[in-house]
Symmetry: C2
Subunit: 336 residues, 2 copies
Amino acid sequence: MAESEDNTDSVTADDVAAAAGVSRWTVARAFKKDASISRQSRERVIAAAEALGYAPDLMASSLASDRSNLIALITNDFNNPHKLVLLERLTRILWSRGWGTLLVHMSDSEDASAALLAASQRRVDAAVVIGTRFDDKMLETALGARRLKKLVIFARYSQNPNTLAIACDDEIAMRQIADHLLERGYHRPVFLAGPDTQSAKLHRKSTFIEYWRDRTGTIVPSINTSAYDFGPAIERVTALLQDRDAASRPDVLVCENDIIAIGAMDAIRYRMGLRVPQDIAVTGFDDIPLSSSPAYQLTTYRQPITAMAERLLDVLEGKLTGDVALPGQFIARLTT
Amino acid sequence: MAESEDNTDSVTADDVAAAAGVSRWTVARAFKKDASISRQSRERVIAAAEALGYAPDLMASSLASDRSNLIALITNDFNNPHKLVLLERLTRILWSRGWGTLLVHMSDSEDASAALLAASQRRVDAAVVIGTRFDDKMLETALGARRLKKLVIFARYSQNPNTLAIACDDEIAMRQIADHLLERGYHRPVFLAGPDTQSAKLHRKSTFIEYWRDRTGTIVPSINTSAYDFGPAIERVTALLQDRDAASRPDVLVCENDIIAIGAMDAIRYRMGLRVPQDIAVTGFDDIPLSSSPAYQLTTYRQPITAMAERLLDVLEGKLTGDVALPGQFIARLTT
DNA sequence: CACCGACTTGCACGCGCGTGCAACAATAAT
DNA sequence: ATTATTGTTGCACGCGCGTGCAAGTCGGTG
């Protein structure tokens, strides 16, 4: 144990090299995974480093190597609790594999280039867009304005060719939900989607509508909320159900995600005074923590976040270069 | 407009200098706020920079200047939706003022030093701890193991002298809640707190209990959940109310925060079949988005997050060096 | 016309580490 | 014992920019 606890100034590889009696480059090798270095040298260096409290400076390392080991996590939609789950899982897995995560807020297209610019100024190795409300134009602009090494779209599809999407397989998911509803005898669904952006690439709505038509021959009507939040969902569903009797009402609301489904349930219960699922059933998507609470018990579909994060690692390490859609898990609770 | 759109390799200050016919240092000055540079030089440089698509490399800048303009946001408790609100507000305000935010997960004390180490390896200018479950020992260890320039505790108190806390003023808040309850005629409260860590420095519980004793002469019992999450709160409250008749029940549950309050409400309603507030009233703390939903309509207290974030900026800019406690806003809804 | 202050610009050096190659030591093959 | 092979180590140079100082410019005054 070294007594130099007064090292307010940081200790560099040179200090460790001097202490261990080797060159600075040998010190660097000791900290590099597959470096060509003898075991005893490495041990001596590590011991010296520990005594001095040395840890490689990642910032200097980045500058020299042109790899920052930093990932920008770009998000806009902070109202959806599911984002918290995604952020948590991603940061934990990325850090555990040596990647740092830079959190970036990007509220609208105006911000977009600023956010990407800021990220690139930090030399991030990749930017991961987590959010449903980025349209492709925005991404294109962002990509054109500032070169990023990689742009990954997480938990959402994208048709931009310069982009790589890692998402839950919405088609499998929505078919499973549809099968479940058909099995339970529902026959008049309405699809409740989020904002109708130019190119929202969640295939949930179209898949559900097409599959339902194939199986029943009927066309499912759909409506949109103005935001991925429960407030607008409440308003929209209230407007939908207002002045309709039991015969003309939908018997199930298929929602694009859980937070909207929860708004729908609140509207059904507290605005209309109806029951879920007896009067109207509801399904969601994401399986946010609240969905399992006794108040909601929402039937939903869980995205395979961990598996998706693993694929993200593959992308970052260059082992994967194509889009990915992974199956998740259907979760039947009490709202259907 | 330059036609060099093929600049896969990044454009540096030297390139801009050449294009503008000045030296590299003049380019740097053009991008520095209060630098000594003539207006025409600056304009020429900015024009050249724009044409070339140049933006200063923050990583290299950090290395040279020993200021990274990076803040580590350290969190452990991702179950509480309030964290999302805090993260969103902080990142937005920090980025708008030129600070980048590094998101770090720190689940237990084992992680603590690893997280702080990782942060220091990135040369963060400060680490901001956002979370209620970090005990002071953990912080002390972390501080000792790796020197950080600044350690700020956000939305929580701390008595560690090497630390700076920015929080909502719990004393004012809890007195206001108590006054409200007394005014409404409640007289048998129970305080529902989170996990009883060694040194949880939320003064909410002690303040409430002391103030209630001062005003009524009675001692408020308190119970703990095993985590800041609604699931454990449901279990704990169910256990509390089980086998008690209306006379021996509390008439109000004062909860340390909203997510626990929501669990309490779920237990009261769905486990016990009782009504809020007719049978038992509930109060929370934080005013998370869900608290305003028709399903809960929770009476709570909103933390002054924006003001707290502004103070954080003061701290980062060295204008503030002492602890801060700011008053928030009491919000009466329908659960009392 | 010389001179002084205020403003503006250029530059040597360093931040801490990576890369690629050359030199060297330790072992195996002939 | 000599050479080929593998393993290990040292080093010059550069990553892109900031700091502090010295040199340069300009306009105005006596």
